[in-house]
């Protein structure tokens, strides 16, 4: 009971840290839940753009804006030129299109008005550029044949109405799956931080020379003491894991409690065991309590940045991903990404089990290394 009480005291004293990491995962998941498109049909991406019409809403500029509205989301940024420039830099809008004064007059008279596009050169802005060029080309073709702006606008609209037939090969709800996998991926950071920080603090307190000496000379059975310590750590880690699973149900939706969701949950349970072993391993290395915050921050941030927790693995350089194979977080994130994409979990079960086995291997490795180091230290 003494051990349990000490454990609870450390948790109470550091409740702020636990709340902080929980808040981080909530903010991140809430930010990710914006796209709630739960469909299995193809939906074209619509880039966010801003259109400045200097031609005073002429028929052709209105037609142009209407066509852009079909293919993009029109946004209006208030606050002047600087606010618009900021919005472009921060990708709030992917393009700014300026329709010049006299646009309609120029088109009708066969001239080429200079429509301006400003963008950060992303794929979304390239898409907008293609859309703009398509419309302008059609306008110019019809302007050669007709002189009435209404007719030109209508003809251009009709000519560009045709869409290619698109079908999706997957029957998987990829939007929901991405939401679930990004929650579980980000939860890795919070799980690591909450578990490793508290357990390292507790274990390094118990391992500090004075406390250790007092424990050794006390009447407490050493085996019982170790058992209590192990049970406390296990129940704390399990409680944190259960808490994040409940939070997952709230943040990522009902998919968490499907068969595929169960696979995500099992993956996170094995990862939690691995994090527990890592916490034990690092606590044996730490000599003073003050170093816990620094070391744990470096370990958790390092694992998160390199293994695809903060930045999706597909955006990481290949050499970083190769190096990340040496970290357990990589295998956890890799398994989550695999679960979000695989068509049939039953067909690809080997992949899932291999990743789980590697995680289990890391758990054994860290636990064994921790036992060896603490054994050596005790003999010293």
């Amino acid at each position: 009971m003494t051990v349990f009480n000490a454990f609870l005291r450390v948790i109470r004293r550091n409740i702020g840290t636990i709340i902080l990491y929980t808040a981080i995962v909530i903010i991140f998941s809430a930010a990710n839940s914006g796209s709630n498109n739960e469909s299995t049909g193809f939906t074209a991406e619509k880039p966010d753009i801003m259109v400045v019409d200097l031609d005073n809403d002429s028929v052709l500029s209105k037609g142009f804006t209407a066509f852009l509205e079909e293919n993009a989301v029109l946004k209006n940024i208030d606050g002047g030129d600087e606010a618009v420039a900021d919005a472009l830099f921060y990708r709030e809008i992917s393009s700014l299109i300026t329709i010049p004064e006299g646009f309609e007059k120029d088109i009708v008279s066969g001239k080429t008005p200079q429509v301006e596009i400003s963008s950060p050169g992303t794929a979304s802005s390239e898409l907008t550029k293609m859309t703009v060029q398509r419309y302008l080309r059609a306008l110019k073709v019809f302007a050669e044949k007709y002189s009435d702006p209404d007719v030109i606008a209508r003809k251009a609209q009709d000519a560009l109405a045709g869409k290619t037939e698109v079908s999706m090969m997957t029957k998987l709800d990829t939007a929901s799956m991405t939401k679930v996998s990004s929650y579980f991926n980000f939860a890795a950071y919070s799980l690591m931080s909450c578990i490793m920080f508290i357990i390292c603090l507790v274990l390094s307190s118990f391992n500090s020379p004075m406390v250790h000496k007092r424990t050794v000379v006390s009447s407490m059975n050493f085996r019982k003491y170790n058992l209590h310590l192990i049970l406390s750590c296990l129940s704390y880690a399990l409680a944190v894991w259960v808490f994040f699973m409940i939070l997952g149900r709230i943040m990522a939706g009902e998919t968490v409690f499907t068969a595929r969701g169960a696979a995500f949950i099992i993956n996170s349970l094995v990862f939690t065991a691995c994090v527990l072993a890592m916490a034990f391993f690092f606590s044996t290395l730490l000599k003073e309590k003050n170093a816990v915050t620094g070391i744990i921050n470096v370990v958790t941030l390092g694992c998160s940045f390199l293994c695809g927790v903060f930045v999706p693995a597909q955006f990481l350089p290949s050499w970083v991903l190769t190096a990340a194979h040496a970290l357990p977080t990589y295998w956890y994130v890799e398994n989550n990404d695999f679960l979000a994409q695989t068509q049939s979990l039953r067909g690809d079960l080997t992949h899932y089990i291999i990743d789980l086995s590697v995680l289990a291997g890391f758990t054994v490795l860290f636990a064994a290394a921790g036992i060896i180091i603490s054994g050596i230290k005790r003999r010293e």
Binding site: E82, A83, A87, F89, P120, A123, L127, A138, V298, F310
Partner: protein, 391 residues
Amino acid sequence: MFLHNYKYSLRLMLGNRQLVFWTLAFPLIMALLFNMAFSNIEKSEKLDPIPIAVVDDSSFRSNMIYSETLKTLGEGDDRVFDISYTDEEKAKTMLSAGEITGYVRFAGGEPKITVMSDGIKETVMCCVFDEIGNESKLITNSGMEEIARQLQSGNKDIDYKAVFTAEAEKVMGTDTGLKDTSPGNMSFVMIEYYSLIAMACMYSGLLSMTLMNYNLANVSPVGKRCTVSPARRGSRLLGSLSASFTVQFFGLLILYLLLLFVVRADFGTKLPQIILLSLLGSLAGLTLGVAVAVLVRINENAKLTVLISAVMAGCFFSGMMGITMKNIIDKNVPVLNRINPVAMITDGLYSLYYYESGERFIIDAVSLAVFSAVMLLISFTGLRRQQYDSL
């Protein structure tokens, strides 16, 4: 006395491993982690050639418009697609394995696209096929209208192929007059490095706070001894702050060297303004540390937690944990970043990089100076005529 205190303050700071870690090592570690995580992110936002497969059967080969256009779109350095011509089964396998974005097969002269999911590459692929379809329709319609016109004007000897070729050239060769006016410096990952510099500046508060704790009688035994000594308080504090500023200056210098020569971050060309902003930022950090030490009457470790949490919260609102956050706060709660020194430093560096104009930078620099003055004023008010009945 000043030099004596300066020397011992330096020794105290450099001997404190926790302090050295947070102020010198942690920003360097973060810079390296940022570099590893973000070095590819902007490349992946660009539109590289999209890998697609085309089902190469008789239906495709007989469709001259699509086969010729796709051939052109798959050639050269500025190609739109990386095309694999294959059969449908192989195309399906490639799509399942994630080797291609989608595949296209032709039925009844029309393309049918199959993709795995929604996404920007899939949308671009569809958009290109829409464009080919629309333009082929445009050429056909214009050609038909031209033929009708010629027939109406009495021309019976029409060269149909020539009419359609002329229309195709007219449509494809149309100059749209679209002018690209994109600004030059658009690398938004730079915000991460700017907020990192800002964090390093504000962490100088840890240095000044630790040294202040050695000067405060109600915090440490050293503080009690210093307070009862005949040394002037002003001279002691000046020595401590100067030593903090020195350590901070060298810490920032190392960070800048790492960012410039290893990470290759872009700070623009205005070096004097960057140095001025960093010095003002460090001053803001130091004065914040003094204020926390004087005003927050809790134990040393709790003060450390308060300061680190305040700086990290400032970093969060200025975009370190999500680049767009700074813009969201600037737009929705502008007052928050007006009083947030981390945002002032980040915004100052951003304005030098993106706008290269002075006005916004001057506002940020003046705000930092005002912030430092306010912190100092508050601290001096708290420090003046301190008396203790018992300790």
